[in-house]
Amino acid sequence: MTHFGNYEERAKNFSWAISEQELGYQPGQVINIGWYCSDRICQQGKAEKVALIWEGFTGEKKIFTYNDIRLYSNTFARFITDLGIKAGERVCLFMDRVPELYIGFLGILKTGCIVQPLFSAFGEESLFVRLENAATSAIFTQKKHVSKVRKIRDKLPHLKHIIIVDYDGKTPLQEREVAFSMEKSEKVEHYEIYPTYAETPSVLHYTSGTTGMPKGVKHVHYSLISQYLTAKWVLDLHDEDIYWCTADPGWVTGTSYGIIGPFSLGVTQCVLDSGFSAEAWYRFIEKNRVTVWYSAPTAIRSLMKAGDEIIKKFDLSSLRHLASVGEPLNPEAVNWSIRVFGKPFHDTYWQTETGCIVITNFPGMPVKPGSMGRPFPGITATILNPNNHEPYPEPGRIGLIGLKPGWPSMMRTYWNNEEAYKNKFRNGWYLTGDRARMDKDGYIWFVGRDDDVINTGGHLVSPFEVESALLEHPAVAESAVVSKPDPINMEVVKAFVTLKPGFAASKDLELDIMNFIRKKLSPLAMPQEIEFVDSLPKTRSGKIMRRILHAKEWGEEIGDTSTLENE
């Protein structure tokens, strides 16, 4: 029996008060995500229940009960408070998927500080712009990543504390650095949790747009109300489940559904801190008897590529419910999972800005392969006419996905960028930036992005950010960055580049530029192909026409070229 039940019944009787009541929250009271995800579960009599099963790539394993989570997050919180960091300051987590990342997240929230998780593969430039924008006070990191922080710390006057969670004493600590060992520190039994309220800021996730630098999406503690209920109804998490979310908490899925959702429900979850390998993943599912698995289309397509034979080596019969997020899940992947696992992956649709799943294929309801599903009850989603931003009255029309704002985990603003926030709304609708159509049954089907943002492997990459970084390479005169199709990652970054005098196109130069971007920004932003050209298509006013290059890559009609220079 699923938690969700019947869609029409749920939609008819829906109120977010359902979630508030289940969590024992009353409007106006204190609400702190850190407390809800640890102390409250212990108070429910589940202190000794396993909260987190963690496994590293060497096979090292650690197990934490809910009482461990409570004590260690208190220990984190005490350490932060003793450093003199005050509520409201930004504290960054820049780590691989080690236990300190998951538990530190809750500890930071207990102090009233705003947690800023950042993907540990970010290069120094990506790290710098995000820490500078947030005026971050402290960063928790590992010794393997601290050199990236050292390279930029002199440009970050607000960054007072660089905290290394696995310091081994082999090399001396440097300026502003301090060591902290979660497991070796004295456990803190009692910590007075900062009284956060519904609108107190909680999490700052950064996301990329078409123009400008990355934007900090500000969420608040009240987001818990959405994240709890969607984790329960959409992921169908039950008390006895073993849950595996493969997302990294450097991104929003890894926090909303890799920390807040499952821990607020008191569910046991497992984490594999390892790079991708089909065999390692299947072995992990078998060993931990995973029942609910939340993954991403890129990973699913990589598993498909690894073949069906390998699956027969493992007992995956524990799997009960499968879900996917990050980019549209193609019908072939859904049909493949039905064939090999006996059940479909359920596509879920949402964004950093929405904070929770907003459109989805619900457990127990028929999955339409290729569709993102139906709106979550309490969330009004529609297809808007792009010309007047009015909802299309009839199904089947392609337009913009619009969401009526007001659900608990909707972003409250972009950090220090109210103008960009306001620009996301038209005619009272929040625009997701995606184009789609709705069928007669109310299922929504993704068509494409409405802007130039590249969705590669479920992560958004700003062409502007890559182009800006390319110009810092000594050989690059001009560049234009677009997506190109990719069978695994849906799309990947491609750069068109003109060279400065004295430089000649070559395979080695292409590789040099690729590595330059990888280290400066991130592996995701690295162009997987660079095409050297004599000139770029521009308007007569000198603006590069990315859409022409994009159309060529995707085999689409180029469209109106009347404004093209030299046309």
């Binding site: 790539f57 050199s147 990236k148 790079g275 065999e279 590669t456 690729m514 990888r518 690295m526």
Partner: protein, 82 residues
């Protein structure tokens, strides 16, 4: 080809490891160990193709085949011989 493994190892150290990282050897897990991710694998593959003037088909450029210096060297040898 005698120094193939050393060339690959040095390239990984110079391109993918931070200065204070733990040392690696020919069997250190690169992909499953999180040193080289699936996106970065593209640049490592491109390096090998440029350096040894070979083409490694995408269906053979798997995470398993790139998971250590030894495995990468085996892969490269197959194409150089071919």
């Amino acid at each position: 080809m005698d120094d193939l493994k050393e060339i690959i190892k040095n390239y990984v150290i110079n391109e993918y490891l931070e200065p204070d990282s733990d040392p690696i050897d020919y069997d250190t897990p690169l992909i499953s160990g999180g040193i080289v991710d699936s996106f970065s694998m593209v640049s490592l593959k491109r390096f090998l193709e440029n350096k040894y003037n070979i083409q490694i088909p995408d269906d053979q450029a798997t995470p398993e085949a790139f998971d250590s210096v030894n495995k990468i060297a085996d892969l490269v040898r197959r194409f150089v011989k071919a």
